[in-house]
Symmetry: C2
Subunit: 123 residues, 2 copies
């Protein structure tokens, strides 16, 4: 089962720092997201069921930590999109953003650097 968008918000908090209590998570995510305590608890439980996080008892509360890594998640998500929209190839995706003028100077510079590194890697 896939991680939903709301669930991913919780994961994000845990990826930034873990383990964390539900209270911590609520504090960090509640205001921005306008979520109540119950909402966060529910999401945590669904993530537990999906084996995406692990909970360890710590006295009266639980400490939650991610099981699914951010890398894994990003991998799944971006591969899905890439396959669906760009035939699984990266260049067309970048071309798309390029056409939309969505490449910043910084992006371009970094891309250039990246390509150079690839050059050096396998001469």
């Amino acid at each position: 089962m896939a991680i939903s968008e709301a669930e991913a918000v919780i994961m994000d908090v845990l990826w930034r720092e873990a383990p964390r209590t539900a209270e911590d998570i609520l504090a960090e995510v509640g205001p921005a997201q306008n979520w109540q305590e119950g909402t966060v608890k529910s999401l945590l439980n669904r993530l537990l069921r999906k084996k995406a996080v692990h909970a360890e008892r710590d006295g009266r509360r639980y400490l939650y930590a991610p099981l699914l890594t951010r890398e894994q998640y990003v991998q799944q998500e971006s591969k899905g999109l890439l396959d669906r929209l760009f035939g699984g190839r990266v260049a067309p995706l970048v071309a798309h953003f390029s056409e939309q003028r969505k490449l910043s100077k910084k992006d371009i510079a970094e891309l250039r650097k990246l390509l150079k590194e690839l050059d050096d890697e396998q001469p």
Copy 2:
């Protein structure tokens, strides 16, 4: 309201060629997707409600054509992912695929070409 994945399959058919009848669409998509007639009709109706396609009567049947363009759709989808996963910036995304060794020779060549074109464009 967003276009769902199943709906996007229908859009894909219409983007390839339009206008088309429901029958055409079923013929093209049914076998691969294992969808019945009713399924395609439902999806078409949801797309109508979402104003993503337009239907024009043609005798006893309808001809369906996309209103939402593929460009618009790709734009929405990829921007969503980019924002959620890579802080809205393209370079980190490419770096991600690079780390995963998901850049083909061809990708690299095309990226290089793309960057060169950007160079020439604004000297």
